[in-house]
Point group: C2
Chain length 287, copies 2
């Protein structure tokens, strides 16, 4: 057992999955789950993700050896303020937020020197939410990004052991580099899916589903994700998201200009650029 007493702030899909996976691996002991809603707390207890629940973050961290922050990014700062006075010396605080530079800065600023902070970002989760969609297998085979934060090597090594035990691949990354890459690998796809959903919705096209195949479903899927979570991501990574969004707008404008000009060779060349990139990333579609 690496951490006997754990507090999970925000025992939703990711927080509850972390608790379930860590318990199953025998790496974490007693878990106190924190959620504002009674329904979420009840579900976390029922599923065995938490042994006790509270709505009070500062009470939950009492005697905790590990504090796991799984709230939306924009709520991190307040949670850190709430728990800072009650954290035990030697405790490890880590988070599962989707951006890292801002969160690491907040941790350095707000948490006491007697505790360690490791930034974390499990590349897992679905468009669903709540402990009811949690699973002890949520992290199996996924990458778990880590930013060293204020943690010493032994403290980092210990947490890395837990990440491996829940069957994820730990990968150490600089927080600024994390946010730069994620702007393209995650935040831009989300912005794109959201804008597409907005545009199609505004068209008020009737009977869309009768005329749709898998493309519409897949390209818009992530637009169903939590609004609160994504507002926080854009708010804490605007500096990287804006240039990425500009590149998407440029590419879209090039397509539109080529179609307007009836320049089908140019349209084909742009389509081929997109296909080459996608095939290079995920492999050629099989014949």
């Amino acid at each position: 057992m690496l951490y006997r007493q754990t507090a999970v702030m925000g025992i939703g899909q990711i927080g509850a999955s972390f608790a379930l996976a860590g318990k199953r691996a025998g790496m974490i002991g007693h878990v106190v789950g924190v959620a504002r809603s009674q329904r979420t707390r009840d579900a976390a207890l029922r599923l065995g993700a938490a042994d006790a629940c509270t709505e009070d973050p500062s009470a939950a961290v009492w005697e905790a050896e590990l504090v796991y922050l799984a709230v939306p990014v924009q709520a991190m700062r307040q949670v850190m303020c709430d728990i800072a006075p009650n954290l035990s010396a030697g405790c490890l605080v880590t988070d599962a937020g989707s951006t890292k530079a801002q969160v690491c800065d907040w941790a350095a600023e707000l948490l006491p020197d007697t505790v360690a902070f490791i930034g974390g970002h499990p590349m897992a989760g679905t468009e669903k939410h709540g402990p009811g969609s949690a699973s002890a297998d949520m992290f199996a085979g996924t990458t778990y990004l880590l930013c060293q934060g204020t943690a010493s090597e032994p403290v980092l090594e210990r947490f890395r052991e837990l990440v491996v035990a829940i069957r994820a691949r730990p990968l150490l990354v600089d927080p600024h580099r994390h946010d730069e890459v994620l702007a393209f690998s995650s935040h831009l796809p989300h912005l794109c899916a959201a804008a597409l959903s907005v545009a199609i919705g505004r068209s008020r096209t009737e009977d869309l589903l009768a005329f749709a195949a898998g493309g519409l479903r897949d390209t818009t899927r992530i637009a169903s994700a939590s609004v609160e979570m994504w507002r926080g991501i854009f708010a804490t990574n605007a500096g990287n998201v804006l240039p990425a969004a500009g590149m998407l707008r440029d590419a879209l404008d090039e397509f539109i200009a080529a179609i307007e000009a009836e320049d089908w060779e140019r349209v084909a060349s742009l389509l081929a650029q997109g296909k080459d990139f996608r095939d290079g990333l995920y492999g050629l579609p099989e014949e």
Copy 2:
């Protein structure tokens, strides 16, 4: 048996699937497959999708009761010109093209009065291609859109019977309405996925996959589809695709302006618009 002798022009994924499904249902007999590449012809024969193969469209339609055009949309016109002189009186010509107004116009203009034409669009297929990715189950549970074209009611009814036999749901639609709706349900999602792939590719971000979850994979999946097929779709539906693309650009610009202004309430409101539309279409994500 509804059609004893069938010619399939373009025996790729859709053409071969149609042949396999129609044969399994006992609705079509001898199939002559047409493809330019020897490799495709060999695969179609090996899989039993075709009983004979040729690269000559005009030879393939000889004595055919059913001619199935499954070539990219922009190749339809030439194929119709090639086969028109050799079509048997009473023959039914149908297609599986992704746009319908232009194809129905070409058929009315180019095919002899002694044959009937029904426009078709099976809402099936994957980003893969070639007969190797065909399946007799390809159409099971999918919608098969039909435009009556020049067909009489009995001729349409007969083909509809075949569509039901391959386990698809036939749905009659006006070709112009088809192209208007598809601009939003299919062509705009494709344009969006292609532009996103182009933009991410140009960023030359290293190690993207280590930092990506399902969102990147799903939002870009259809960008892997055939360039030739999609060039044809945009070329034959530009009049509907351009206004749809303009709406996507507007939505994207609104997101960008809100992020630039750090107006997170506005960002959240746009995200909620996209989520509401998506949830309304496919249902709320489960908790």
